[in-house]
Assembly symmetry: C2
Homo-oligomer: 286 residues x 2
Amino acid sequence: MMDDSEWFVEPAPKAGCSIGLRIRRKLDSVDSPFQKIEIFETEDFGKLMAIDGCIMLTERDHFIYHEMLVHPALMTHPDPSRIVIVGGGDGGTLTETVKHPSVKRVVQVEIDRAVTDLSLRHFPEFVEALGDPRASLVFEDAIRWIERAPEASIDVLLIDSTDPIGPAEGLFETRFYETCRSRLGPDGILALQSESPFLYPHLVRGIHEKLGAAGFRNRRLFPFPQPTYPSGTWSVTLASAETPLDVFRSIQAKPLLGPLRYYAPALHRSLLTGLPVLFADLRSSA
Amino acid sequence: MMDDSEWFVEPAPKAGCSIGLRIRRKLDSVDSPFQKIEIFETEDFGKLMAIDGCIMLTERDHFIYHEMLVHPALMTHPDPSRIVIVGGGDGGTLTETVKHPSVKRVVQVEIDRAVTDLSLRHFPEFVEALGDPRASLVFEDAIRWIERAPEASIDVLLIDSTDPIGPAEGLFETRFYETCRSRLGPDGILALQSESPFLYPHLVRGIHEKLGAAGFRNRRLFPFPQPTYPSGTWSVTLASAETPLDVFRSIQAKPLLGPLRYYAPALHRSLLTGLPVLFADLRSSA
């Protein structure tokens, strides 16, 4: 059934399924102190960045993930000005963040400089945001950086991490969530990539429980399609100690953000009111 | 990266991506006069039925597709009593259809008896519906069957076909849609599987245009996750000549249908009001 062409195949850990992308050639490969980062040219999905054999992003579909990690959180905070991105070295999350005019300062804390170096070389669409005068690029362990950050100094914290295996493991622990909560201001919102709710419902539930234990009273699951991630469905979770997550600045979204390709205020509203049974069961609280 | 275990891999035609499922063993295989039908036991997705190398259904995720093909259409029709299923030989669509107490008669017109035979042998969850006293199983070319059906004799017509290549090609043509329209009653609704709106937007657009040309003034796209179909996102399209598709019998859904695993009235409503930009662009009319 497979022809002779070359495929990049990623088997999902312990899930018995895999995703493949037909590739033309490998463009780049770096063994950093943290991980192996590869860039491929695919046949139909544009360029592909893979880390340790896992698809991180493709030119064709990354916009869904990046728009959903950033816009629901920033449209829910009443006045998001001070933003911190944990991970996200490729610059995709930063690119969506700087579309918000309320943002005065955004710090991207990525452990691995090689991710950003490769992204600058191969993904020109992120170059502008990575050089935005409001953006600071910090290359160090985000857990340590967050610990040093002053209390209540962050409006929105976006966790754009790899999976909870390897370097990102500590980013999925109650202790880290507690530190995040204390560094967020009173209206503060945390948004994190929360894996596939179809393949790993136990993982999503675990994340929501740990967030609750860390004092994030409100949690909301936002599922979305991501064709090149395992199962084709992924999720972002929003969490807050106080700020209600079931309302957002809906009328401001369009004039503020300009044309987007996935996020729209009507979509945001529909995800608050009408999740499928399968995922609604995972949503832990208002 | 792949280990030694066996995988069933389906490359999506002309789309440069593939889906794989880890399998334990092949359970059955039939070369019918129409196609090759295989049954596998997978590691994590239960049993798998494949036709000509394409994943048709797995025990783990078929409920999403079947619930979305049936319930939006039957909740939109004011009193769905006479139902026809085109294709759907496995019995999954029938299983969801007979959950509606308004249904008096449902005819399943499948070209290939071997599909139903294999389903009865391997998917016990469909056996009850395939023997429902309201159900008739007809094994012949649905195009001919529909041509012989009296005018205005059908309330809801559900097209549960394979892809528009091979035996199902004629089910995606304007001429067939015209015949369907004339066999539907005045409140009639057509629902059809309309492929991946992410991978094949041109195909979805083509289907909607042909439906329009065939007199279906109203069309609505319902996207949903389907982890084992190419891209992980699939769609159903509802079409009608007269019946509005933006309202449905929402308060009746829960008591009527009992517990479902994907469809819910709130989800139905959210899909009418808040599609992502990416798919909203494909929705052709109210």
